[in-house]
């Protein structure tokens, strides 16, 4: 609370138990055994799903294209190792509903045979357009969790003439340390990725922002940036949700993104630090995004650590590698405890969005008893956006969605700070997720109703046209009959006249 008063550039937020020390000191495990089967969903990004180009029975090499991107906002997926395609079918997705998604299944051959690749001689001499297209072709997406195709953002940055690239290394979620470890161990590669991004966007400077609970990573990044004047590394206070791009931008630059705008509106583009590393791999090594660092932690995990796993590995295998006690595991979460998704089953693949797998024990979660709102307004203080969660939730409870929208429902980022502080254990953020879904549903219903009107109109017009045509046809037939009858009559007359003559 005092920190909040001291710094007017910080709004709301909470400070939860960090639980980062379990994994932040351990090196990223590189000895994860290659799984027998990999399950690669074709939709691991925002936008249109990728379209598979492989058939069952095909042999693929490591890094080979499995499904190509469709449309402007989409991303391809590649084979994480060499092997045989044994199926392309619907398979449960890492999603709270565990509904199926189209998935390419590879039986690995253990050879790890790479597709022949051609890294550029000097990546920093590539054209900006070339950098963007290579990043897009490598299937790089935002690895902070939003999984927006990175090439689209780089192109957008170049077109909008941005002045700053903000590298988000906040990692404000408790438990997660995958970005922290990445910076500690591979700072040079990250900085190379940042320089390539700057070149791709034609932007002059970059700021790396990370929370002040990662001193080792901070020093490593500073050392790696020493010879590049245009990249600075800044520490920000540890306060969830510092990793929210608007919060970090406000703290570091004092600028505020308009409610219905984007960061590009004020000349900034924000990328995650792990994305910068993926860009380095995509350009300098010509390797597509086929693996990622995942934090495996939680009370039920015997050996909490960061692991680099191929995309498509089943979470159950990662959990087994880290010695999870299944009996102790009360909840499985993908992502962080604040914004992550609880998964009903562990036989789902690790995807590009998955930065953490948390096996939480019973004493880390609570099954709270929900009580009535006492209007203490703790949630208002905690909300980083400056909304009134208690009011919005009570409107949504009464199904008055429109008035919840008037209160700013669409600006809610679902960070969960309100639910965390609520003394009555009201699932506030659940209400907002429900309402946002309802709004989308309504929008779709309105769209459908418009389409229905158009379809009915078309049909009515067609029916009318058909009726008119039928009438005209009938009229023509009648006239033709009359003409024929007249001609016949005339011929008979003629015959009679000739006879009488």
């Amino acid at each position: 609370m005092l920190a909040f008063l001291e710094n007017p550039r910080l709004r709301g937020g909470i400070h939860a138990e960090e639980h980062k020390q379990e994994t932040s000191g351990q090196p990223i495990a590189a000895d994860f055994p290659l799984p027998k089967k990999l399950f690669i969903p074709v939709q691991q990004h925002v936008g249109k799903p990728a379209e598979p180009v492989v058939k069952v029975g095909d042999k693929v090499l490591k890094g080979q294209l499995l499904a190509y991107s469709q449309g402007t906002i989409s991303a391809p997926v590649h084979a994480p190792t060499s092997g045989t395609i044994i199926d392309v079918k619907d398979y449960p997705a890492p999603h709270p509903s565990a509904l199926p998604v189209r998935t390419v299944i590879i039986e690995t051959d253990g050879q790890e045979q790479w597709l022949k690749s051609f890294p550029p001689e000097d990546p920093f001499l590539l054209d900006p357009e070339e950098i963007c297209s290579r990043v897009g072709g490598a299937g790089v997406v935002g690895l902070g969790g939003a999984v927006f195709p990175s090439a689209v953002k780089l192109n957008l940055g170049r077109k909008n003439q941005i002045h700053t690239l903000l590298i988000n290394a906040g990692e404000c979620e408790p438990y997660l340390t995958c970005d922290d470890r990445l910076m500690q161990e591979r700072a040079e590669e990250i900085v190379a990725g940042i320089r390539l991004m700057l070149r791709g966007m034609q932007a002059p400077k970059a700021i790396v922002g990370l929370e002040d609970n990662k001193p080792v990573a901070f020093r490593a990044m500073q050392a790696a940036c020493r010879e590049f004047d245009n990249i600075s590394v800044e520490q920000v206070p540890t306060r969830y949700p510092m990793g929210w791009d608007r919060q970090m931008l406000r703290y570091l630059t004092g600028q505020e993104i308009p409610a219905d705008g984007r960061a590009t509106d004020i000349g900034v583009v924000v990328h995650n630090v792990a994305t910068a590393h993926a860009v380095y791999k995509a350009i300098c090594l010509a390797q597509p995004l086929i693996s990622r660092v995942v934090t495996v932690s939680g009370g039920a995990v015997g050996k909490p650590q960061n692991v680099e796993v191929p995309i498509g590995t089943l979470m159950s295998e990662v959990l087994a590698f880290c010695g999870v006690d299944k009996a102790k595991m009360a909840r499985l979460v993908m992502g962080g405890p604040m914004m992550g998704d609880a998964l009903p089953i562990s036989e789902v693949p690790v995807v590009k969005a998955c930065n953490g797998i948390l096996a939480l024990s019973r004493d880390e979660i609570e099954e709270p008893e929900v009580q009535a709102c006492i209007r203490c307004s703790s949630c208002v203080t905690a909300c980083p956006v400056g909304l009134l969660p208690l009011e919005m939730a009570s409107r949504i409870k009464a199904n008055q969605l429109d008035s919840a929208v008037d209160l700013g429902l669409k600006d809610c980022i679902s960070c969960g700070s309100c639910s965390y502080v609520c003394p009555s254990n009201i699932p506030l953020v659940h209400y907002f997720k429900f309402a946002s879904g309802e709004l989308v549903k309504r929008q779709q219903a309105e769209h459908k109703s418009e389409q229905t009107k158009r379809l009915m109109n078309d049909r009515n017009q067609r029916m009318e046209r058909a009726r008119l045509e039928a009438e005209a046809e009938a009229l023509r037939a009648q006239e033709a009959r009359a003409a024929r009858a007249a001609a016949q009559a005339a011929a008979q007359q003629q015959a009679k006249v000739e006879e009488s003559v």
């Binding site: 199926p100 199904n399 429900f434 989308v440 219903a445 309105e446 229905t452």
Partner: protein, 177 residues
């Protein structure tokens, strides 16, 4: 001379008739309630008849005259109820309102005989097919009016809930305290 008088007579006639038409339009106007028009615009407009009225226009008239509740339209759902209540100034308790699950028609391929009766009655052309060919329903265009179900001679058209996929899955409402 004849030409001149003809011009004068025609002009005078035109003036008098025009004036009388103008006066008639003002004083003998058939009143149509603008509110009905606005209500009708909000309605889905598929004339499905699920409300018990022959179409959206009669339903709108009944709504404006106050003889029908704002909750009459099943395809419109809670969104429509809210809009109607706002427009007509009616208080409505939405806390227990539950959108009925949207249903779409589906053809069972075993029993379809290709009789074409269903696609002739479909108001949105959502059924495709040809004589003696198995028909199919385009689920995105189906409005769930059940007209096809009524005419199908083999009962092969049945209403089914829309399939839940990752694209249309939504968070459920939290259970109230």
């Amino acid at each position: 001379m004849y030409v001149l008088s003809a011009i004068v007579i025609m002009a005078a006639l035109g003036l008098v008739l025009g004036l009388s038409l103008g006066v008639a339009a003002k004083y003998l106007k058939v009143e149509s309630d603008p509110l009905v028009e606005r209500v009708e615009e909000l309605m889905p407009g598929s004339q499905c008849g699920q409300c018990g009225f022959p179409g959206c226009r009669p339903a709108a008239e009944a709504l404006v005259s106050g003889t029908a509740p704002v909750t009459l339209c099943p395809p419109g759902g809670t969104a429509l109820i809210e809009q109607l209540a706002k427009l007509l100034g009616v208080d409505v308790d939405l806390s227990n309102a539950q959108d009925q699950e949207p249903m779409v028609a589906r053809v069972s391929e075993e029993t379809c005989t290709g009789c074409t009766r269903c696609f002739k009655v479909c108001p949105t052309d959502a059924i495709v097919g040809a004589p003696k060919q198995i028909h199919a329903v385009v689920a995105d265009a189906c409005i769930g009016c059940k007209k096809c179900v009524e005419v199908c001679p083999t009962e092969c058209l049945q209403m089914h809930p829309i399939e839940v996929t990752l694209r249309n899955w939504r968070w459920p409402k939290p259970l109230a305290a």
